[in-house]
Structure formats: structure tokens, C-alpha cells
Symmetry: C2
Subunit: 229 residues, 2 copies
């Protein structure tokens, strides 16, 4: 019984990977760099996009917004005058807790791929399943808010292990928390040795320049690779 | 294609409900009141249990601890000298993002049901799937931290709609946040009109007496119902 269940999960992930590769091929053809942007609910993904997307030098960016229900985040980002596509995951009972490659594929016709250099996919707020499903991204960025505690890398290791950048957000609140930042950084390093981490605050702007530069750099280096390919 | 997918989800939930009823029957036979305790990662579930479980007047309590990986929370709660059973959801790739009725059933033999009056099931940190899967509980309690923002009830409506009590945690941080508490309470009321809400801080102890009294009351009234049944 248990073996069967595991095999079904593997089959589902296998099908997902096939579709993710098809997405990847479409993104490559269009010359679009794709960022899978993930976190727990309320860690500050949308705020961290609001703080940089309007000012990416030389990079035209679009956003695919994944939510169980509603378009609150898409509405916030639309004011930055970047193209935003909304994807809701609630066709069934409580909604899907993540985006998968097929959901992203179903939205491709709505995304102006020819007009953008970079697509940021804001995933559903969840530290488990979004990490399991590739959607065709070049890089994965996750946000971990200091209000969530130091233990999260040990409790949700796959998310921390598979990302290329960890944004440690809300550091303006550190003086008001019993939070051991060194312990958190150590825990991240345990599950993803050497991964890049940035201390940021979407509220005060601290660290936001580095985040913006990193995102611009990712778009530029992907562009370069495609030219040389 | 889409219809098929929805039907599979419904079948899975149907099987889950059948097992949840079997769990419920076992809990009733043992005279145990069950609380399904849910939140996003890092909202403060374990801290809110630490603050009350050692002092529930006349109620013997046990905990079933659900985590993707590790036993950090179980280790914290064990120091309160209450029986804690650990359930890890990571037999496959990234782990399950919720507890379901069958997982809880698989742990029943490990829980000293004859010795306790109340079982608190600390679910996996996630605002989507835990709300979809009944596990045989009497009541559902969710924690929403003020650091997560006011919009969460609108983005994760099923979780807020199906709970009996919303603990609004970390209110000691309110002076340091751009958070509109009235807007949050209004949003909760939109999806679950009249639901009980308590403002608490596990850190300062504010509101903890009310939370402890509510939990004691739930155990007492369930006991009374069973006596009269």
C-alpha cells in the first residue's frame, strides 16, 4: 500500500518534469529568464517584488501570480506597470497548495513572452509542495522572514536545499524578536552549504539594492548564455 | 481532463472522511477530545502550546506532532511532561504538506488514549491542505501571526472558514508593523462570520489566560456531552 503511494507521487513528479522541460524550451525560445519565487504565507514576497520590479535596469519583467484565490497581489504589482498574469489554484475544494508545470503551461498564452526578458513566478505561500514541482525556472529564490523562527531550514529542508538565493526578510524587526540570526544562517548552511543569503527589509529598504542587483545580474547572464549557445 | 482531476481529489477526500470517522469513533470510545491545531510555518503553534499545556486544570493532555522532518517541536513539548507522539510526513521526495486521517490513524497505537482527556494534533505548517483533510477532530484552532499581513483570510479562505477559533498571535509586535488589525478582523469575519478570535502573545503572555480557559472549556463540555449521550 505504502509502496503504491510513493510510486504514484513519483509518476506525478515525472509527468511534471516533462511539462517543466517543455515550458523551459518555450522560455528559451522567447529568451525569457524565469525565477520561481517562493516562501511561507506572509513572508513578504509581493513586498520584495514591489521594491525592485519597477527599477530593473535594462530588464523588461513580467509576473505570473499564483494564489489559491483572489488577485490581491496581482493588483498591488499592476501599479508598477509590469504585465501581471493571475493564476488561481482553486478549481476544486480548498485549492492547490502550489503551482505545478501544467498550471504554468496553461497560462503561457496569457503571458507576453515576446515583450519581456524575465518572468517572475510568485508561487503559492507554502514551504513544502512548491519545492517539489519544477515549473521550468532558471533559478529559485525563497524568502524566509525572521519572524518565522530559526528552525525552518531543518523543518522544511527541501525548500531551502533547492533554492539559489535565500532572502532573509523583515530584519528591521530583529530588535523586537527572540531570534538567533546566526543559528538560522547555520541551519540554512546545514541543508544547503554555501547558498547565497541576503539580509533584507522590504519595509526599510535595507539590503534591497543587493537583491535588485542580483536579479538584474541573473537576467543579464542568462541573456549572455543564450547569445553564446 | 480537468473533470477527471477534480473527481480524483473528491475520491481522495471521500476516503479520508471515512477514515476520519473511524478515528472519531476511536477517540469517542476513549473519551478523548481532539483539537486540530493549524497555521502557516512559524506562526507560533508550538509556543502557544508550551504556554498552556502544562497548566490545564483537570485535563490530561497529549500531543500528536506533525512535521515534514525532525522532532524539534516534540522535543520542546516533551519538557512539559505531556505525552508527545511524533509523526513525520517525509517518506517520499519532499514530504506531505499536511496530516490526513490515515496518517493520524497510523499513529493511534502510539498515543496513550486511555490516559488522556484531550489530544492536540499540531499539523504541518501550511494554510492550504491541512484545512482540506479532516483527521477526526472535535474542533479546529488556527493561529494567524500579525506579521503575516491582513490579507491572509482572503487568500486562504478555507482554513479561516473551517476553524472554530482564530488565535491572532504576536500582538506584541503590532507597534513595529504596518498592520491594520481592524482590517484583518474584518477579513476573517468576511469568510467566517462570527468566529471566535483571541488576540494573544506567546512571548509576553497577553491573552494566554483566555486561550487556556477556552481549551479547558472545550475538554469539559465534550466530557459532559459524552456523559449525557
Amino acid at each position: 500500500m505504502h509502496r503504491t503511494k510513493v510510486r504514484i507521487v513519483e509518476d506525478a513528479l515525472d509527468a511534471n518534469n516533462t511539462i517543466a522541460q517543455a515550458n523551459r524550451a518555450d522560455f528559451d525560445r522567447a529568451g525569457v529568464t524565469v525565477v520561481n519565487f517562493m516562501s511561507a504565507p506572509g513572508a513578504g514576497k509581493t513586498a520584495l517584488l514591489e521594491s525592485v520590479l519597477g527599477e530593473l535596469a535594462g530588464v523588461s519583467v513580467g509576473v505570473l501570480e499564483g494564489d489559491v484565490q483572489g488577485s490581491l497581489d496581482a493588483d498591488r504589482l499592476a501599479s508598477l506597470h509590469v504585465p501581471v498574469t493571475q493564476l488561481n489554484t482553486d478549481p476544486s475544494f480548498g485549492g492547490e497548495c502550489h503551482l505545478d508545470a501544467n498550471m504554468v503551461r496553461s497560462a503561457l498564452d496569457e503571458i507576453p513572452l515576446a515583450e519581456i526578458d524575465m518572468l517572475v513566478i510568485e508561487n503559492v505561500g507554502n514551504l513544502v509542495c512548491p519545492a517539489e514541482f519544477k515549473v521550468g525556472e532558471d533559478v529559485r529564490v525563497m524568502v524566509s522572514s525572521v519572524t518565522e523562527g530559526e528552525d525552518k531550514p531543518l523543518k522544511y529542508p527541501l525548500m531551502f536545499r533547492t533554492c539559489d538565493l535565500v532572502l532573509v526578510n523583515k530584519i528591521d524587526l530583529l530588535p523586537h524578536l527572540d531570534y538567533d540570526l546566526d543559528r538560522f544562517l547555520y541551519n540554512v548552511d546545514q541543508v544547503n552549504p554555501g547558498v547565497l543569503m541576503m539580509l533584507v527589509s522590504a519595509r526599510t529598504g535595507e539590503g534591497i539594492d543587493a537583491w535588485r542587483d542580483w536579479l538584474t545580474g541573473v537576467a543579464a547572464s542568462a541573456q549572455k548564455e543564450r547569445v553564446h549557445a
